[in-house]
């Protein structure tokens, strides 16, 4: 079992002997070798414990495992599909916020001047407002198109 020249069989030889009931071949040596005795005691104890533990095991049925695995696969697929939609939603929100800020700064902080500019037909803030107003439905349309495309997958 070791390499110290005590004439021990290798670990593999001893394991093989235990498995095939050929241990008596080594009886004389094992009687005088504490290391081989330790190996045999441990292997027998572990195999005994393994046998008992397998008797205690109550694994679920194969059908249950397959069903749960399928459910999990579907949930993962659904999460993959909805992830880009969530990203688009967040992006739309941020873009809307940026546009709103841009409009605020371009028009000026006074709400009255902004309203006045619209009512008088001044063309200074109009393009920015149009962009802001158009961006919301544009993102809605984009989200709808993406949802239709990914839902088919």
């Amino acid at each position: 079992m070791n390499d110290q020249g005590k004439g021990c069989p290798s670990e593999e030889q001893l394991l093989q002997a235990i498995s095939t009931d050929e241990l008596p071949k080594w009886t004389e040596h094992i009687g005088s070798c504490s290391e081989c005795q330790a190996l045999i005691a441990v292997v027998e104890a572990i195999r005994c414990e393994s046998h008992l533990a397998q008797g205690q095991a109550r694994p679920p049925s194969t059908q249950w495992i397959l069903f749960q695995a399928d459910m999990r696969r579907r949930r993962a697929a659904a999460a993959t599909v909805t992830l880009p939609l969530k990203m688009v939603g967040r992006f739309a929100f941020l873009a809307g916020l940026v546009v709103a800020m841009a409009v605020w700064y371009s028009v000026g902080s006074g709400v009255t001047s902004w309203c006045e500019a619209i009512s008088t037909g001044s063309n200074q803030p109009a393009p920015v407002l149009f962009v802001a107003a158009a961006s919301v439905p544009a993102f809605f349309v984009m989200a709808l198109v993406l949802r239709t495309l990914w839902a088919e997958d």
Binding site: Q37, I40, A41, A45, E49, L52, A53, Q54, Q56, T62
Partner: protein, 172 residues
């Protein structure tokens, strides 16, 4: 009875052959039977999500135990992160005349480190080679032999201290 699709039948055979031994490994390595139930399911879920069909039948058992060991390590990491340790289960047996078996299970659970149990189990219960054990446990192949030797000596000492000789350790 309805016919199962070929893949399901193949998996069913594999599951029947491996689930009990995998549970035994997870139970003794995690030192908890209740954790082993969850870990077993997680292992098979991950196995089914993998490319198991492309593996040779002989490699599948090794691959399953490799996944099982990763699941086990995730379980230990989660336990450390939450700092919530469930008490170790006391090994239960169905028969009243099994004090030897209870003691043996409790020695493995209470006196041995998790890694030691894992190595001893993979080597002597599942009979994986040192190379396979190294791949399963992510250790260097060269360090398996000394680690196994130390774990074996420790368990042998504990068995002797508990009064088990060669004959008493044998399965009744």
């Amino acid at each position: 009875m309805t016919d199962k699709p070929p893949d399901d039948a193949e998996f069913s055979d594999f599951y029947e052959r491996t689930s009990r031994s995998l549970w035994a490994y997870l139970s003794r390595s995690s030192q908890s039977d209740s954790a082993a139930d969850d870990l077993l399911q997680e292992t098979y879920f991950r196995y089914l999500q993998s490319r198991w069909r492309s593996l040779q039948p002989a490699e599948r058992r090794f691959y399953l135990f490799r996944i099982g060991t990763n699941v086990l390590h995730d379980h230990f990491r989660r336990q450390r992160r939450t700092s919530f340790h469930l008490g170790k289960d006391v090994a239960q047996t169905t028969s009243g005349s099994m004090t030897l078996k209870i003691d043996l299970a409790n020695i493995l659970r209470n006196e041995m480190k998790r890694r030691e149990c894992q190595l001893l189990w993979l080597a002597y219960a599942e009979e994986f080679s040192h190379r396979e054990i190294a791949q399963i446990t992510a250790l260097r192949e060269g360090s398996i032999r000394p680690l196994l030797f130390r774990a074996r000596q420790k368990l042998a000492t504990l068995l002797r201290a508990a009064g088990y000789g060669r004959k008493s350790a044998r399965r009744p």
